[in-house]
């Protein structure tokens, strides 16, 4: 029996745990009290690791026409179909969508695989929570956005939660509540569209769409600044003076602004996938000055590290638009469930137009339903590589014939008589500083951005109207069928 340290990649926090394994079998997942990030805690997502690793419904063999086949049959068929489509339709006719749970090496390999084997620039790493857009918004100003570490949260006098960081990264709540209870006067302030897990602890709560709420706070902050403010702040103040806010919004925003300015150290906890809110949160932290920083709570653990070096030219939504327009005729989806990930687009209708859809996934999902070839893929605990800012080693080998995305890409390239070498790992140059931003558009869009009620994705609504969460629902289903 071997004990190995693992890192959870369900969110950006990266809590550690200890996995006890015997050969190819997982014995137990144990809490790791020495881990600096999680400090022994695992949230509901982290506790599902053992279930993901040992689930009986994992895909273990490639599927074609609802029939399980061997890799030796699948690879030549996929290779010839892709080569035929590429030669028939020319460049940029095949798209590649990689999941956000890939390692950094796999993202680099995809950047080599797509132009060389598929002759296509239609490549994206997909995260349903707009991780790239949020990180891109924060990277504006050439790294001038001050970032806060986990230790900064524990020492902070004032927290401003945008969205619901307690829901995306629950383990962060331990530090936030520790900081709040450490001294009188330390406060948690929330800006969100509706009451949520974080707002229960709020000392001041602006109930508005996140960009609008942030603009209300920014307005109160700018009212306090003296005459020697930078030009973009003056421009913003001039535009915001015209904006009309509700009286209760202004009252809460004034309280938040007062605490934010007075606090020696303050942290903006970003728990939303709204890029506009991310940009405005960066503005808020920058106006705050010394001791203020932003901490992001994102849903895909490895995506900040992937997007450090990922040269993105097209988004998944744009690829799907091209599919609908008939420009992209074949699609290779590695891990990402794009049907479930873009609920506002009619993805199924677009995927129905494809001549060839190859979907790799650890479980059957709504994208594999539409696929001509389904390939079994490994989950993140079953592959070694660079992830979460360090080296992560595999806890277990993948079950059956499941393969990591890198192996799938390598094998398909082999079937097409190509050899792969990863692309250069170059840093991406992102957009310029605050001085060059269109302040008018930022303010205008922020005020117009309406609140969209959150979709409760973990709940299932039954025909009798009752709603249940996944834990008890699964228990009910399994209990009802087992004999």
């Amino acid at each position: 029996m071997a004990k190995q340290k693992g890192i959870c990649q369900m969110c950006t926090l990266g809590c550690g745990f200890i996995a006890e394994t015997a050969g190819e079998e997982l014995i137990e997942i144990e809490f790791d009290f020495d881990d600096p990030n999680g400090q022994g805690a695992l949230c509901a997502k982290g506790n599902s690791i053992s279930e993901l690793l040992t689930h009986p419904k994992r895909l273990i063999a490639p599927v074609r026409d609802a029939k399980a086949i061997r890799w030796e049959e699948a690879l030549p068929a996929i290779g010839s179909a892709l080569a035929q489509l590429r030669d028939k339709s020319g460049a940029d006719a095949i798209g590649l969508v990689l999941s956000g749970d890939a390692t950094c090496e796999e993202a680099a390999l995809a950047q080599a695989f797509s132009p060389s084997c598929l002759k296509s620039k239609n490549l994206d790493v997909f995260s349903p929570t707009n991780d790239y857009e949020v990180l891109d918004a924060l990277a504006g100003g050439n790294g001038a956005t001050p970032r806060a570490s986990l230790q900064d949260i524990r020492n902070a006098n004032c927290m401003v939660a945008v969205g619901d960081p307690f829901a995306t990264c629950p383990v962060i709540s331990r530090r936030v509540l520790d900081a709040r209870q450490a001294a009188r006067g330390n406060s948690i302030n929330c800006i969100a569209g509706a009451p949520n897990m974080t707002t229960r602890f709020a000392d001041a709560f602006v109930q508005a769409a996140e960009p609008r709420g942030l603009l209300a706070v920014i307005k109160c902050m700018l009212d306090r600044t003296e005459g020697n403010a930078p030009a973009w702040q003056k421009e913003m103040k001039r535009l915001l003076d015209k904006a009309a806010f509700e009286p209760n919004e202004t009252a809460s925003a004034a309280r938040i602004a007062e605490r934010f300015v007075k606090a020696k150290t303050a942290v903006v906890l970003l728990g939303t996938g709204n890029p506009l809110a991310a940009k405005l949160a960066a503005v808020l932290a920058r106006i705050g000055g010394e001791g203020k920083g932003i901490h992001t709570s994102l849903s895909y653990g490895n995506s900040p590290f992937i997007f450090e070096g990922f040269q993105r030219t097209i988004s998944t939504r744009e690829i799907l638009e091209r599919v609908r327009a008939g420009k992209v005729k074949g699609l290779v989806v590695l891990g990402a469930d794009i049907v479930a990930g873009c609920p506002d687009m009619n993805v199924k209708e677009a995927l129905g137009r494809l001549e060839l859809l190859i979907a790799a996934a650890p479980f059957r999902n709504r994208t594999t339903e539409m696929a001509h070839f389904i390939l079994p893929s490994a989950i993140w605990q079953e592959k070694s590589g660079t992830a979460m800012g360090g080296h992560v080693s595999a806890l277990l080998p993948p079950p059956g014939g499941a393969k990591a995305y890198s192996d799938i890409m390598k094998d398909i390239a082999g079937a097409m008589n190509m050899r792969l070498q990863p692309a250069d790992w170059a840093r991406v140059e992102r957009s310029g500083g605050m001085e060059h931003e269109d302040i008018g558009a930022l303010v205008e869009n922020g005020l117009r951005d309406a609140f969209v009620p959150p979709v409760i994705s973990t709940a299932t609504r039954f025909s009798d109207g009752s709603i249940t969460d996944n834990v008890s629902w699964r228990a009910a289903v399994e209990g009802g069928t087992r004999r």
């Binding site: 805690a41 307690f166 629950p170 709540s173 974080t198 229960r200 009910a476 209990g479």
Partner: protein
Amino acid sequence: MKKLFLDLDRCIGAKACVAACYRTHQNLPIVEMGDVTDAALLPEMCRQCENPACLAACPKDAIFRDDKGIVRRSNSRCIGCKSCIYACPFGAISDNLGTYMIAKCDMCADRQARGLIPACVSSCPSGALRFEEIEGVRADKKYILVGGHMMGRHPYFRR
């Protein structure tokens, strides 16, 4: 005897305790979440009562108090009559209809034998669940006890 305490000022309703309990007890959920009329979402846990109604209601003596004082349930004696479920005033015992087995919190007796604390307490992301002696909690002036199982910060220390 150490007991489970729920800090009402820290519970965020993340359901990590439910998931940890589900995982460590062979998929028989023992800790469940109770919805308090939209005001709060709190885990419902076994209080380990001094005079347990479930023990009194059991017709086959399947529920008993062990030498450490923990109210436990014997799998071999249980006939699945669900009397304990109806008797428990807190709704802390849940049944599993498929297997006719009733899950009852034993404060992770197997983990305690290995020197570990219960899974739900380890797992709690916000540090709301505690596993402590009741005397220790009583001595802490910052907290007041709510019904011997839940605790909240004293109003003076609250804000």
